[in-house]
Subunit: 409 residues, 2 copies
Amino acid sequence: MKNVELMEKIEFYINRLGQVGLKDGIRWRCAYTKEDKAAKELFKSLIENEGLLASEDAVGNVYGKLKNSIDYTDVKKILVGSHIDTVRDGGAYDGAAGIIIGLLAVSETIKKFGAPKIPIEVIALTEEEGSRYAMSYVGSRAIVNGLMENELNSVDEDGISLKTAMLLAGYDPDNVMKAKRDDIHSYFEVHIEQGPVLEKTGNKIGIIERINGIFFIEVEIIGREDHAGTTPMNMRLDSLSAASKFMAKLPEVVAEISNSATATVGKIRVEPGSSNVVPKKTIFTIDFRDMDVDKLTRMNEAIQLELNQLKHQGFKVNCNLATSELPVDLNKELINLCEVVVKDLGLPYMRMNSGAGHDAQIFAERFPASLLFIPCKDGRSHSPVEFASNEDIAIAVEVMSGILKKLAW
Amino acid sequence: MKNVELMEKIEFYINRLGQVGLKDGIRWRCAYTKEDKAAKELFKSLIENEGLLASEDAVGNVYGKLKNSIDYTDVKKILVGSHIDTVRDGGAYDGAAGIIIGLLAVSETIKKFGAPKIPIEVIALTEEEGSRYAMSYVGSRAIVNGLMENELNSVDEDGISLKTAMLLAGYDPDNVMKAKRDDIHSYFEVHIEQGPVLEKTGNKIGIIERINGIFFIEVEIIGREDHAGTTPMNMRLDSLSAASKFMAKLPEVVAEISNSATATVGKIRVEPGSSNVVPKKTIFTIDFRDMDVDKLTRMNEAIQLELNQLKHQGFKVNCNLATSELPVDLNKELINLCEVVVKDLGLPYMRMNSGAGHDAQIFAERFPASLLFIPCKDGRSHSPVEFASNEDIAIAVEVMSGILKKLAW
């Protein structure tokens, strides 16, 4: 794809959107802030620039719709896009690349083939990351299931409820159910992989078959606080030493059940946390993911069994399975359609699973949904260094354009 | 020892001193605060109550000296005592038991045998714990070596220098060298064990032969930050996983060199510290102690060798040996003298090493010094639950009285 104009647009759109939400060198666009508003205003201007009609729904999802040359009433719509928010200190591609690819794919295809038979809407979803409120996928859940009262009452770090934040940003929380839709034909999303596999294997497109289930355990191992100098090694009940042995074994424990699973201890804290005191308490998290729900259940059992064996040595162990998001299958017909298009273009690609959660999994609850990955540098994301090349983004525009052409024209 | 009056005094003195420095249920007597001053005033009143003369030196060490029935000029003095300060949220026995045992041993012996040939001074040392300033043993170091200018300039968490704190508490920092002494015959200290060995073995007295050396390494393992869901296990450089394997192996690494050594990771922190991010950086401390300096040196090498092997896997490893306090031998003649007295009293005792640092090691640099341990409940210390029984304290008074009798009368 050597479309100079398209490449320049990608460069310009990514850079412009990437500059929104920067403050003191940190990029953070989260729900219902002025950074969020600025990003949406900018994206609406890009939509208009591409000849589409910009609008917002009741919760702040931004739409780019076709101008009414054809009456599409009573026809289900194809949605294509991703989310517009970022994590704190995030990058310029996670979410952003997806909405720009969606927008350009729609406008490029219309430019070539005129108005489609099935209407297409570009969508920039509000708040997928959950970086302000504990809940993720606010925009897609508002569309698919509607936001619930208890969700509207959840509060951020400053005690401001989602409801209040909406009000302050100019949205009426009494109207949130107006964002819910039944008229969706299908949902398409392109996202950076956020992992190293495409880059390492030289593939340009990942066609996602399944979004992995995510289980999340909070662990507390309680031993005894002792003086680091005066308590002989064999008289200790060192919670960190016990946790270390567990953590060292964790990769094996999950690999015995699934060789594609991931397991991560990302957060750890000891009490009292003094260099000359044997740690009484070690508190840590285990995030483990797999595509198979039975295997996740067995991993959960195996992890807890392993931890509970510490009780025989005198430790107290508390395990709390705080999250158990089940794996989600994406639509097989759309997967096949994507594969046909990618093959036709002669692109190196692979079918794969997603280890991260995405809006596509929310849409998949009620509608045919599809998710494609593009490579990102060193697999990095959720960081200012995250990067996808203009060339790879242009390839995704071409792929998405091909998919839309086959489906909607 | 069924001396009812002595037992009541122990009960009363321990309780009275234990109440000084309590604020909002937390006991903390640290250098040059009003809690410190209150404790010193109280201890001076106890000294007077025992018929001795109370005084303070230039840095706030409290002395209880004999009234001048005999001219002791030009005679070297025996010192007996411990420190008067506590750690933050400390107990009523660490240090406190030692100064009360010293005071009562001196007064009991004088009551029975009159004035000694060698003068004895009770001493309550200022600031052993280093809970306000990074440096420990302020009082004993002022006596043994004199405090240095750079030490006086060290600052607390609020940026107040030791010099300023002294001034505010009514001491003249220009006079600190006046606390330094050459006229010391010997130093005797009784301390709670702060470990479980005496209690578990049923011994009433531990005669310390050596104070263990303390080495302290600060470690940083740097890997790579990755998404916990999208980065396959075999493509990670997980610093916490690497640290876990090391920590799990640490007890073996030191045990291969010395079976009496201790090694403790008491403090650990990961970055970025998010449950769904593979930790890029793991920072932790290793405190390891032994009685043999060669073994400590070999342990240091073995630990760093073990850690540096992680470099072959792609990790960056930084090790900083922040502390290397060498082991200190206590005076052999005094050890033998103590043993004779303890044996004569028919007490169960053991010779042992101290895993914790004590003022006695500072005195040992220039003077004959002796350290005895008494049992404490469950080996606990540096905590409000620390406890030694009145009976065990009375035994120590009797032992110390016997030692002083043999030495000074």
